[in-house]
């Protein structure tokens, strides 16, 4: 096995960033979901909404924590594994990430404490404000980091003088050509992830006949959001596709599985290929005739451009990009089908009774996470061999650190992160098994709802005296 430092650095970054992305994707979606739920609770005073809030708050808190600590790793890992990249790109993406920390991380962190632990210490309006601020923080965070990553994909606004980058126009750096499309794409992915997570858990309860009220509401809400969101997502996805076709043609050429400069006409849509990068051909390919022209060229007979249009040393690895894209796209189609099915079942009045549908929802609980990961693999492996497209290659970007150090720390990351995700899954399953807390929390505790909503400090003597808790 090659112990090439650049390969090891890539594997290490790929591992840590893949692990990390799972958690902010959930957090962005769940934070907004929680804001919606809390709004519904405040408006309708229906205790089931508080149940839903507290249930998902638990899982959100764990995921958020892992997201934060794995995220800190990344902000230093640019320098640890890719020092030459950092030196070059620092002037451009550094300020973007600095603004992310200033406007988003602090906002989330500042209000998270109140959101998680302040239910008893602040009034309901301030608590709702805190929830909203955390949700806004996640949104801002995604915006900045997507701008930084999009700049790496479609750089703009910079001038280069012997290996040094100077920013010439910040607006061009921030709003680089792919950002306006990739940002809504990622945000929608996060909201879809939460929708299917929530609906899937609800469906599980319905199948077992438990926690009916909780389950019906979460399935209804989850499927409703998912239906609207997936329609938007496939629309945005096509726009992202068009943009990347223009600015990073090599990526889309690799994504579709065609090698020849001009494919046959009409072109098929490939579902399964065995690509041979050395011989620049597919040893085997299975596709639906004509569909390639229809989907990829929006015409009946259009030809698709293959990877040979890109010089060999600048080609990404087709196998990686192709299958990552297929996984994401197939999940998208499945989600769309689920959305249409949910509309049909609502029409027939059997949304909560159709067992095959509920089982599908359960299976699709992690679908958003898998699709998001797959999409990111398209983005990052498709950009290779560049780390800043057209400017800096990945092999030229690594740190002067020996392979042994990279390998040993990679192993350390894998072991530690394995502990994190195992614990997360065990505790999440436990929370799901336990189910939502049945009794309404404190609406009746002090005899009037108004009292329960008044802010107070927990240990004040009067409070302890009046307390009707155990």
């Amino acid at each position: 096995m090659k112990l090439d430092p650049s390969i090891l650095a890539r594997i290490q970054f790929a591992f840590t960033v893949s692990f990390h992305i799972i958690f902010p994707t959930m957090s962005i979606g769940l934070a907004s979901f929680l804001a919606v739920i809390e709004a519904l609770w405040l408006k309708t005073k229906n205790p089931v909404y508080l149940q839903i809030y507290r249930f998902w708050l638990n899982i959100f808190a764990m995921g958020f924590g892992i997201g934060v600590v794995t995220g800190i790793v990344l902000s230093f890992e640019f320098g640890l594994g890719f020092a030459r990249f950092s030196q070059m790109a620092g002037p451009a993406i550094g300020p973007l990430i600095a603004l992310e920390v200033l406007t988003a991380f602090f906002l989330e962190a500042g209000f998270l404490g109140i959101m998680l632990f302040g239910l008893h210490r602040v009034g309901p309006k301030l608590h709702f404000f805190a929830t909203c601020m955390v949700a806004v923080g996640t949104l801002l965070s995604a915006s900045w980091i997507l701008s930084a990553n999009s700049w790496m994909q479609t750089p703009a606004g910079v001038a280069i003088h012997d290996g040094q980058l100077t920013v010439v126009n910040w607006l061009h750096v921030l709003m680089n050509p792919s950002w306006p499309y990739r940002l809504p794409h990622m945000l929608t992915a996060a909201y879809l992830t939460a929708s299917f997570m929530v609906a899937g858990v609800g469906a599980w309860y319905l199948l077992r006949g438990k926690h009916q009220d909780f389950a019906r509401r979460t399935v209804a809400l989850g499927t409703a959001f998912a239906t609207v969101l997936i329609a938007g997502q496939v629309f945005i996805g096509d726009l992202v596709y068009g943009t990347m076709l223009k600015y990073q043609p090599s990526k889309m050429q690799a994504a579709e599985g065609f090698w020849e400069k001009q494919s046959q006409s009409p072109a098929p849509y490939y579902w399964f290929i065995v690509p041979d990068q050395k011989d620049q051909r597919n040893r085997f390919a299975l596709g639906t005739p004509n569909l390639g022209s229809i989907w990829l060229t929006h015409s009946l007979k259009g030809r698709v451009e293959g990877l040979k249009n890109t010089p060999r040393e600048l080609q990404p690895r087709m196998a990686l990009v192709f299958y990552a894209f297929r996984i994401m796209y197939c999940l998208a189609m499945l989600m769309f089908a689920m959305g249409v099915a949910s509309l049909w079942l609502r029409f027939r009045g059997t949304l909560f009774k159709s067992r095959w549908f509920l089982w599908m929802l359960v299976f699709m609980t992690p679908s958003g996470i898998i699709a998001t990961l797959a999409g990111w693999y398209v983005a990052e492996t498709g950009r290779q061999p560049w780390v800043i497209y057209g400017i800096l290659r990945t092999v030229d970007a690594v740190s002067p650190v020996p392979s042994q150090a990279l390998l040993s720390t990679l192993i350390a990351f894998v072991c530690v992160y394995a502990v994190f995700i195992t614990a997360f899954l065990i505790f999440t399953v436990r929370i799901i098994r336990r189910g939502p807390v049945e009794a309404p929390v404190y609406a009746e505790a002090s005899g009037s709802i108004k009292n329960a909503f008044r802010p107070h400090v927990l240990d004040s003597p009067k409070r302890l005296a009046d307390s009707q808790f155990s």
């Binding site: 640019f78 030459r84 300020p95 240990d459």
Partner: protein
């Protein structure tokens, strides 16, 4: 306007805030390892739970400011400190997830508490190691790191690590005196009686040893002798006060004295490091990115930092007073 100087000041500001705020978080974590009673451990963790995330965020701010304003220094220092940085990140990871995981797990809470404590301890040690490594000097060639990743495991960094460990324990003890209930006051006082003198002694050793092995530091003492001597004196007095009075003092005093120790220490470090950013080879201005990048960071920092400080202070105010006995959930 000297933008690199401004950026360096902001960098120093974020690092100072980090060291003070996460200092007591990590300190409480270290002390957790020495607390046998489960209820007391819960109480200790409760005292830092609502605000730890914001505190930790300052280190990200520092790292990212370095990337944005001094990318050359970032690209030299991170490979140089590759091993301690990664160990620190993993340790902070364990500390961070333990907050949530220990609550979820009744049977294994003790194990998660150990993870919490060890994570805090290792993180503190690594941060001290990095500081010592900075003082020791880093091999630079042609604006790139040219040394070995093992250079950091030498006496000065190691002693610095131990020094910071005791320093954070002092901050942690002070925080507990401020926020905890009666039963933990004794524990906190006892810890201060050990950590404060230890901190002072090791700090002294570091100062002397650093002067002996790093000519750059000797030169700084030559030019700023009086200022540095005053700082050392102030440090000694504060440490002495802390050791003497930890018995029955106002609850805020030990914590404030601890803060003073750190402010003094940081000021001294700043005096020694300035005007280099990679001591003692690369100056601030040599490591800086172009003015367009510096300007954006400074404008952003100037506009947003006051807001951040305001709502962070607000969050602390919400959770003011003594930490409740039964935690935050009731």
């Amino acid at each position: 306007m000297d933008l690199p100087l401004l950026s360096a000041s902001f960098l120093a500001f974020t690092l100072t805030l980090y060291v003070i705020l996460d200092g007591f978080d990590l300190g409480v974590g270290i002390l957790l390892l020495f607390q046998p009673a489960k209820a007391s451990r819960d109480h200790m963790v409760d005292s830092i739970t609502p605000t730890w995330d914001g505190n930790e965020t300052w280190i990200i701010m520092a790292g990212v400011t370095l990337l944005a304003a001094f990318p050359i220094a970032y690209s030299i220092l991170l490979p140089a400190f590759y091993l301690p940085v990664i160990l620190m990140l993993l340790a902070l990871g364990f500390r961070g997830v333990s907050f949530e995981f220990r609550v979820q797990s009744k049977e294994h809470r003790r194990a998660w508490d150990v993870a919490f404590g060890v994570g805090s301890l290792v993180a503190a040690l690594m941060q001290g190691l990095i500081l010592g490594g900075l003082m020791q000097g880093v091999t630079v060639q042609n604006r790139h790191f040219a040394g070995s990743v093992l250079d950091i495991f030498r006496p000065l960094p190691i002693i610095s690590g131990i020094t910071l460990l005791f320093g954070y324990a002092v901050l942690g003890g002070g925080w507990l005196k401020l926020k905890s209930n009666v039963s933990l006051q004794h524990f906190a006082s006892r810890s201060l009686r050990v950590s404060a003198p230890a901190f002072a002694v090791f700090f002294g050793i570091v100062c002397i040893y650093a002067v002996r092995i790093q000519p750059g530091i000797r030169a700084q003492w030559a030019s700023h002798g009086t200022a540095l001597a005053c700082l050392v004196g102030l440090f000694a007095i504060a440490a002495g006060m802390l050791t003497a009075l930890s018995g029955k003092s106002k609850p805020a005093l030990p914590f404030l004295l601890g803060l003073l120790l750190f402010v003094v220490g940081i000021s001294g470090t700043a005096l020694i490091v300035f005007p280099e950013i990679v001591p003692f080879s690369v100056s601030l201005w040599d490591a800086a990115s172009s003015s367009t990048s510096q300007r954006l960071v400074m404008i952003g920092a100037a506009c947003v930092t006051p807001v951040v400080l305001a709502y962070s202070a607000f969050a602390y105010w919400i959770f003011r007073g003594k930490t409740p006995e039964n935690g935050w959930e009731a």
